[in-house]
Point group: none
Chain length 185, copies 4
Amino acid sequence: MAPKRVDKDARRQEILDAAVRVFSRKGFAASRIDDVAAEAGIGKGSVYLYYDSRESLLEAALAQYAAGADALLRQAVEGDAPPLERLITLVHSTIALLSTQRDLARTLLDLWATDHMRPAYRAYREAVTTVLTQARPDLGLAHTTVLIGAIEGVLLQWLIDPDVPLADMAGPIVDVCVEGLRERA
Amino acid sequence: MAPKRVDKDARRQEILDAAVRVFSRKGFAASRIDDVAAEAGIGKGSVYLYYDSRESLLEAALAQYAAGADALLRQAVEGDAPPLERLITLVHSTIALLSTQRDLARTLLDLWATDHMRPAYRAYREAVTTVLTQARPDLGLAHTTVLIGAIEGVLLQWLIDPDVPLADMAGPIVDVCVEGLRERA
Amino acid sequence: MAPKRVDKDARRQEILDAAVRVFSRKGFAASRIDDVAAEAGIGKGSVYLYYDSRESLLEAALAQYAAGADALLRQAVEGDAPPLERLITLVHSTIALLSTQRDLARTLLDLWATDHMRPAYRAYREAVTTVLTQARPDLGLAHTTVLIGAIEGVLLQWLIDPDVPLADMAGPIVDVCVEGLRERA
Amino acid sequence: MAPKRVDKDARRQEILDAAVRVFSRKGFAASRIDDVAAEAGIGKGSVYLYYDSRESLLEAALAQYAAGADALLRQAVEGDAPPLERLITLVHSTIALLSTQRDLARTLLDLWATDHMRPAYRAYREAVTTVLTQARPDLGLAHTTVLIGAIEGVLLQWLIDPDVPLADMAGPIVDVCVEGLRERA
DNA sequence: TATGAATGAGATTTCATTCAT
DNA sequence: AATGAATGAAATCTCATTCAT
């Protein structure tokens, strides 16, 4: 029974990975169930043995990302290190998380303007705001917005142009948007 | 001789505006020609008197934005003012341009990850890079990327949450990403 | 009043001629009212001042041909000359009629397999049969069919390939299908 | 592994046969995909599993005819029998081919004046010309045209009026257009 | 469990016809 | 009388989902 379960879960994940690759290449709107099945190397009908609908594949992709992101956010908000350090860590780890999952990141971007992303996005904004406020109670929402913007905007550039060295950008972002702030203090 | 209701150019623009509003609400992929026609208050077939296809509505929206953006970029690159001032002006005017056209901006975002946006996006990046290099030859690509990222990232937040005061964000962006740089020099 | 009437009739005929040219070029099925109006150099709506519908343009074209053909058939059936001579005249004049109206002939062919052509076609077959029977009571339906076939088949070839010298084909047809018969008698 | 109902090739042929029947009844221009699907007893979308478009159904019908006709033409041109005999055989077998496929023949006629038929038609004319020239080098293009015309014209009559005994017409055509020629030699 | 043929709702697009000017 | 913008019914084609095997 147990091995059976492992197989099913593994197959479920294979299909999800295939779906995310397809979504990344063509965008969710242009991605067909046929494409996902072909990418996963299975029959089209089999996709429906693991996911209820095309839409549910999308939800599973978002949920998978949210799970990873959630851990980072919790660490940042609840950690023991000084707030500024936790903030820097969050920037680094967020970028690290995304830079290893380019297909997923592209899929997220494809949905950024839809209601699907609303919750994940809100959580992220709130966590950064919380930590930045802990670190610098004197700074306002505007600075949070700029910092978050810098992270997302750099991500955006990398998604369009893979030559943008995303993994190396955490440093400059911190230099400009966070360390710069520290210096002035 | 006299046009039945409005002249053709005006009607063309009405339809495009309606389309952009629909694209903004539902995303391009989920927008139907019926929706656009209903939004414009005309029959479905009439849309095709002014645009060849659904796709061409999209292209017209992009072209309209590109025309506005192009003027800003040219001013920034070719203007007489000192480079740093031109850069600041570009940030302010880009945000001013977009903040008055929220629906169009959302449509652009909906397409950000597609090939459609590639050219406009590249032009923008190159212009900012050019001016920033004029202003601060010592700074590298990484700083350009952060600055562009901050602008786009702030835009992104405003698109998802209209309460983000986009029109007021040019100042903080400049403070953090540009003025900060000046001080250090 | 009279000149007004003449104008209307002339315009009606202009439109019909334009329609036949368009039908000839594109086939009736692919011909649009817009095409006809453009060919006639008038507005699309004006076509409807002279013809009730697209279909009625087609009927008018057929009626016009039928009127010309009818005269030929009557001459052949009712004329005073010897039957064989009347038959030869019919072959010559039918081909003469069609060879000066290639556009109309193409339009007819486009409709050959439709119910529209049934009556005109039946009248033609009956007339030829009548005259051939008068000329050669000993010959059967099969010979009529071959003769009619030869005429139509030659026409067909000319419609597809304008280089076929239709106007010169009446002679050979008569030689083979009619004179050949006479010789044997 | 086992096909659900019939194997794909058989289903493809069923659909084509249904399409040809519909084309025959209504003409290609007036034939709807729904009609074809209904005639084949399947759903509308299923037609598209086997043919890319409405147009491709037409092309398949033409290709199917062309394949059969091609065999006849090759036999006539390359056979060992005396030329005149091969010509007579060609007339007989062409009519035999068409008389067993009335629906297909009507479809062909529906397209006679279109570019689709140009190649098949040209091949046919060339083959007849070749063989007739072998048989009677003294006869010119005009006689070929009359012979081809007689065949096609008889076919035409049968298509409009099924009572015309097409299968019995090869004899009279040969008598008039071919044997008649022999006698004179 | 796995498959892919079959389906039909729904989308895009065309165009004959109408009618306000 | 003449126009051509506007319309919407009807056609083609797509594809998520189902289900017989």
